[in-house]
């Protein structure tokens, strides 16, 4: 008994020793800043660096949440998410279905379709920026004269950056959907064929329900991806463009609060809001959508 207890102690000690480096790194770079952020939100900073900040408690949170800029930012973010997530998921599913055929050379298409995952945001933004350029872009080449230019146009700026985000999300969405399709139980699909199901029934009443855990996972990933999009907007629109208010999504607003407005307090409050939104959206998805999801074997 005694030796067994000693051995168990040794196991625990070894486990913690192995975990320790990870815990230290996480504590320094993730947990500690995360907690500091809550503290920052309670202090107001003067607009010039170096001056002491003042404790204002929750009043700063109230101010930010009731500000027009914040509301505009929230609306832009939601619009952006609505444009990106369903389109990206549907596009990924369509590509995955197209490539889910045992044809020679299909691997080439699978590589092409998933390649947007490994394309850097900066490269994608520059390429799309060129395509959308009012002088050398696609529209003038087609003989159209976009005026004002797409990226300076209050109506089109947000959809334009959403297009880039969709394009980039397609690769991930394609990979997720392909993995889902490949893991579908073959015999259930065969049973449906023998039971007389035609193509539409096969797809909507068998394939999609069987694929629902994958779609659900893609939805959660897509939401987080869309809420955290930033690079495309920073590179193509930037803070200087007059139309930035229309593309001022939350993450970009946070970045601007800190780097342009020198206001860590504002940035901290916005970060907490973004965190709260992502957490609650994810929890809501799990709470309500997971019930409608059918896991194989269940």
């Amino acid at each position: 008994m005694r030796t067994r207890a000693t051995r168990r102690h040794k196991d625990w000690a070894l486990a913690y020793a192995l975990l320790l480096p990870g815990l230290v790194i996480f504590s320094i770079f993730t947990f500690w800043p995360f907690l500091q952020n809550f503290k920052l939100a309670l202090y107001q900073n003067p607009p010039y660096p170096g001056l002491p900040s003042t404790f204002v408690g929750l009043s700063q949170v109230g101010d930010v949440l009731s500000s027009v800029t914040f509301h505009q930012s929230l609306i832009s973010t939601l619009l952006f998410v609505v444009m990106v997530v369903p389109t990206g998921l549907l596009g990924g599913l369509v590509l995955a279905l197209a490539a889910h055929k045992a044809l020679k050379g299909m691997a080439i298409f699978q590589v092409i379709f998933s390649s947007t995952v490994v394309t850097s945001v900066a490269v994608a933004a520059v390429v799309f920026g060129t395509l959308m350029d009012p002088v050398v872009g696609l529209l003038p080449w087609l003989g159209l004269d976009p005026h004002p230019a797409i990226l300076s146009n209050p109506t089109w700026a947000l959809p334009a950056v959403a297009v880039i985000a969709i394009w980039q999300f397609l690769g991930l969405s394609f990979i997720i959907m392909t993995a889902g399709l490949q893991s579908l139980p073959e015999e259930v699909l065969e049973a449906a064929r023998l039971d007389g199901a035609r193509a539409p029934t096969m797809f909507f009443r068998v394939t999609i329900p069987l694929l629902s855990p994958t779609i659900f996972f893609g939805l959660v990933v897509g939401f987080i991806y869309a809420f955290q999009s930033f690079g495309q907007i920073d590179i193509l629109i930037g803070s200087q463009n007059a139309e930035f208010t229309h593309t001022n999504v939350l993450l970009f607003y946070i970045y601007r609060a800190l780097s342009v407005q020198n206001d860590p307090g504002l940035a901290a409050v916005l970060s907490i809001v973004l965190f709260a939104i992502l957490l609650s959206v994810t929890l809501l998805q799990f709470r309500f959508l997971e019930r409608r999801v059918h896991y194989a074997g269940n």
Partner: protein
């Protein structure tokens, strides 16, 4: 209901023949078991009937229809899979109704027929459950209900009992046989389990390496195996094979000689493979010289493994009341001459006139 006819049917994947030149007829209302070790082509043959695999060569007929190029949904066959293949997102009732719904049968009739099928299999109280809430045996019964509900021409069953535990397997085996006899639907049943095959089939088709070895009623298959493969595959343990040669009126083996029994008088002089079931061997005062290498007590019987001087091992089945020999002891194995089989030493085929 209909007969199923394979006429010189082959299925090739590149150079590999999964099913090679299969000619086989399943009579109307018959339960025919396709039996063989894994990879023998039995499942491929079944899937060709379902339309899930293309026929490379030959013709496949269901009833009077050539079905080589007919879509699975138009063949009017129902299949029961090893994994049950139920729709996990649908209730038991919806699962059973699914094939009827695809045939655009109106709601009232659909529900009525689904309930009848469910009642036949004792599922009427589980209609609102999802497959995930059922036991393995219940799931398999739902799969059977889904197969019988539309009254297909042919049932195809692909190892439907493999995922059930031993006790449930015996019970479900009986249920399937009773159901098939009552409905009289032509059934093709794939298994690697010889007990299932022997107890369920009107006839058994034994396959190996993509080729049909023999098709016969269970008892015929056991008593008159067409070749050494069938002889050793059926039976537990299978038939003992003893290499010998006929010299005059004697069958000479390295461990001693046997007199040529009257039944085998037609075999030619020279090499021959003799076959004897474990129950037609006994330990006595005369016969082949051997050493006891293993004694397995199974309760009702004992299986004594005896190593002949030539290196061949024979299994002798003894009743529980017989004296068990000690390991390593020398014994004499006597053969009941009337139940001795003879096979061609080169091809392994049964020599007619033997037995």
């Amino acid at each position: 209901m209909a007969r199923v006819h394979f006429a010189k049917v082959s299925k090739r994947y590149g150079d590999v023949a999964a099913v090679d030149d299969l000619t086989l007829e399943v009579a109307d209302g018959e339960l025919l078991v396709l039996l063989g070790p894994s990879g023998c082509g039995k499942t491929t043959a079944l899937r060709m009937v379902a339309g899930l695999e293309d026929v490379t060569e030959g013709s496949l007929t269901i009833g009077d229809d050539l079905v080589n190029d007919v879509d699975p949904k138009d063949r009017d066959v129902a299949m029961v899979f090893q994994s049950y293949a139920l729709y996990p997102h649908m209730s038991v009732a919806k699962n059973i109704e699914f094939p009827l719904r695809q045939r655009k049968i109106e709601t009232a009739e659909r529900k009525q027929r689904a309930l009848e099928a469910a009642t036949t299999l004792g599922l009427e109280d589980l209609m609102d459950r999802k497959p995930g809430q059922l036991s393995g045996g219940q799931r398999q019964r739902v799969a059977l209900a889904r197969a019988i509900v539309r009254d297909p021409r042919v049932f195809l069953m692909d190892e439907p009992l493999s995922n059930l535990d031993a006790k449930l397997r015996v019970q479900t085996r009986g249920d399937i046989v009773a159901l098939q006899r009552r409905l009289g639907t032509t059934t093709l049943y794939v298994t690697h389990d010889q007990v299932e095959a022997m107890t369920m089939g009107h006839r058994i088709a034994v396959m190996q390496g993509g080729r049909l070895q023999q098709v016969a009623a269970p008892q015929d298959l056991y008593e008159r195996p067409a070749n050494t493969f069938v002889a050793t595959f059926l039976g537990s343990p299978g038939m003992n094979l003893i290499p010998a040669s006929r010299q005059g009126d004697e069958l000479v083996t390295p461990s001693g000689s046997l007199a040529v029994p009257a039944e085998l008088s037609g075999i030619a002089p020279g090499e021959v493979t003799l076959g004897a079931r474990p129950e037609s061997l006994s330990l006595g005062t005369e016969g082949l010289r051997a050493t006891v290498s293993l004694v397995e007590m199974l309760g009702a019987e004992t299986q004594v493994h005896c190593k002949l001087e030539g290196g061949t091992t024979l299994v002798v089945r003894q009743g529980h009341d017989q004296v068990r020999p000690d390991l390593g002891h020398s014994v004499l194995v006597s053969v009941d001459p009337s139940s001795l089989h003879a096979f061609d030493a080169a091809t392994g085929d049964r020599i007619e006139g033997s037995q």
